[in-house]
């Protein structure tokens, strides 16, 4: 909707003798030549082809992105008409340069909950420096400190993929889809903070960073090298972060002190947000382009294999079992059985999220569901 509120548009008054040419707007006289001698056209004041008169109303949370999705400004095009950084809804020059974006369909990046998740991300930011009670760190038995450090080594490694991957795609995503880009930008920051907090924990209590394995790097490379954003999102948000979310949930049982508990609780909230985006993004993508489902399935087929290879690295399972048992003495009696119980829940959660995303993986997955006591014929929820 174009606005035409200005009056006397562009009417240039000849310069009086010894003076400068001028224009009038709403009864005001405006110079037509600037102090440097360059002509002034006052085009923005004269009226634009964008919507004028918008007055977004703040909601109870403040003025949210959903609140300003009003009129034409809230219309997110399925297929953006151009590839520029020009703000969606502005009066855009016809000859703006092409930025070469590669993700130009709304369905390839959008999720119905993207406004909510962006606001939530901004509202729930925390600081790894300030909000962890580092002063309460206390000496632990060596096997527990080593186990914590091994888990922190792994997490400081894998969390950064969830910074790198959205960052890799962000500049390729059409700017008309900016709300999705803004959410992904929060994820970039969240995951940098996760890397920070786990690295800090490894280094704060007399331990340090322990083993980093080839299998981990191979899994990360699989995710990073996904060919499309849909595949990347499936591998990262649904598979990788889904599993990490459930690992953070286990923090309630594996954390030896309040310091680690606090770390896991805060990272868990962030991770749940990322998984929520991925789940509904993939659902949106598949609903709008059913052919994508097979492409995503193929990525998950491969990703799950990588995950199994990753999972067979014993560093993580041993360390988790020791933490669950509270030490090495009861690792066989308590640690490993409890870990198996939790792993079944992790797998069930993953399959439920896949189903919510519109991907029935129960029959297709090669993950060891039977070994973990999951019946393929029972609906997961």
């Amino acid at each position: 909707m174009a606005s035409q509120t200005a009056q006397d548009l562009g009417v240039q008054t000849p310069a009086p003798e010894g003076g400068t040419p001028s224009m009038t707007w709403n009864g005001h006289t405006l110079p037509a030549i600037g102090p440097s001698g360059a002509p002034l056209d006052w085009a923005w004041l004269r009226g634009t082809r964008s919507e004028w008169g918008v007055r977004a109303k703040p909601s109870s949370k403040g003025l949210t992105m959903a609140d300003i999705a009003v009129g034409t400004y809230g219309a997110v095009p399925d297929h953006p008409p151009r590839r520029t950084m020009a703000p969606r809804g502005a009066d855009i020059d016809a000859d703006v340069p092409d930025m070469g974006y590669l993700v130009n369909d709304k369905s390839h990046v959008w999720a119905e909950n993207v406004y909510e998740l962006y606001e939530e991300a901004v509202a729930r930011q925390w600081s790894a420096t300030r909000d962890i009670p580092w002063g309460e760190v206390a000496p632990l038995p060596e096997e527990l400190e080593r186990a914590v450090c091994q888990i922190c080594t792994l997490l400081s490694e894998v969390e950064m993929i969830a910074t790198d991957l959205p960052a890799k795609w962000l500049w390729r995503i059409n700017h008309d889809l900016l709300e999705a880009k803004m959410f992904l930008a929060t994820q970039v920051m969240d995951e940098a903070r996760h890397t920070e907090v786990f690295r800090k924990r490894a280094l704060v209590n007399g331990g340090g960073l322990l083993h980093s394995r080839k299998g981990t790097e191979e899994l990360l490379r699989t995710i990073l090298q996904a060919r499309t954003f849909a595949q990347a999102s499936a591998l990262m948000h649904l598979l990788g972060e889904g599993f990490v979310l459930d690992l953070f949930r286990q923090g309630e049982l594996i954390a030896p002190t309040e310091v680690e508990k606090r770390i896991f609780r805060l990272t868990m909230q962030d991770e749940a947000r990322h998984v929520a985006y991925g789940t509904l993004h993939l659902r949106y993508a598949i609903e709008h382009d059913p052919d994508l489902a097979e492409e995503i399935h193929e990525a998950l087929d491969h990703g799950e294999q990588m995950l199994v290879a990753f999972g067979t690295q014993t560093d993580t399972t041993e360390a988790l079992a020791v933490l669950l048992a509270g030490g090495v003495d009861k690792v066989e009696e308590v640690g490993f059985p409890m870990l198996a119980q939790l792993q079944a829940k992790v797998l069930t959660s993953y399959l439920a999220r896949c189903e919510r995303a519109g991907l029935n993986r129960v029959q297709r997955t090669k993950l060891p569901v039977e070994e973990l006591g999951i019946d393929r014929d029972v609906r997961v929820a």
């Binding site: 109870s60 930011q125 949930r249 309630e252 609780r265 868990m268 909230q269 929520a276 919510r356």
Partner: protein, 152 residues
């Protein structure tokens, strides 16, 4: 004159309303945690009478209220917590003793194994919503440390 107090039973609407009142009286405590939009069901199995059921509705930095959560109305909740009365009472006793839930009596810990208090939901998105707002919900329940007693 000595004033004695008694604790409100956890399986009562008044208990959750008192928690809501405390939350709404102190939004600045909740603001750093971020807003919370969650309709959380509570189902407490009593040993010898019908279940206690309530729907606690969170919005922004407060609690909108506590409502009836009849059986069959599960779709009104994002997710719900379900467990036996003894476990709920243990959790609240731990909060009263320590000022907040500790060790394996935090909600997140209890629902992880799910054998005593389970986190249920018809939709994985609703269930995951609990984890997005877990710190807020725990702080709400921790309000039991000093908010839910009435004159005897």
């Amino acid at each position: 004159m000595t004033v004695t107090t008694r604790h409100l039973p956890v399986d009562s609407t008044a208990f959750f309303e008192a928690l809501a009142e405390r939350m709404n009286a102190d939004p600045e405590r909740y603001r750093p945690l971020g807003f919370c939009d969650l309709d959380l069901g509570v189902v407490i199995h009593r040993p010898s009478s019908e279940d206690f059921r309530a729907l606690v509705r969170f919005a922004d930095y407060g609690c909108l209220g506590v409502e009836a959560f009849p059986e069959g109305a599960e779709d009104r909740a994002s997710c719900w917590l379900e467990g036996d009365l003894g476990t709920w009472e243990e959790m609240v006793a731990d909060i009263r003793a320590n000022g907040r839930a500790t060790a394996r009596r935090t909600l997140a810990s209890l629902v992880l194994l799910g054998d005593r208090i389970g986190l249920r939901g018809d939709d994985s998105m609703g269930v995951d919503r609990f984890f997005r707002y877990a710190a807020t919900v725990q702080q709400f329940i921790d309000g039991a440390a000093d908010s839910v007693s009435v004159p005897a």
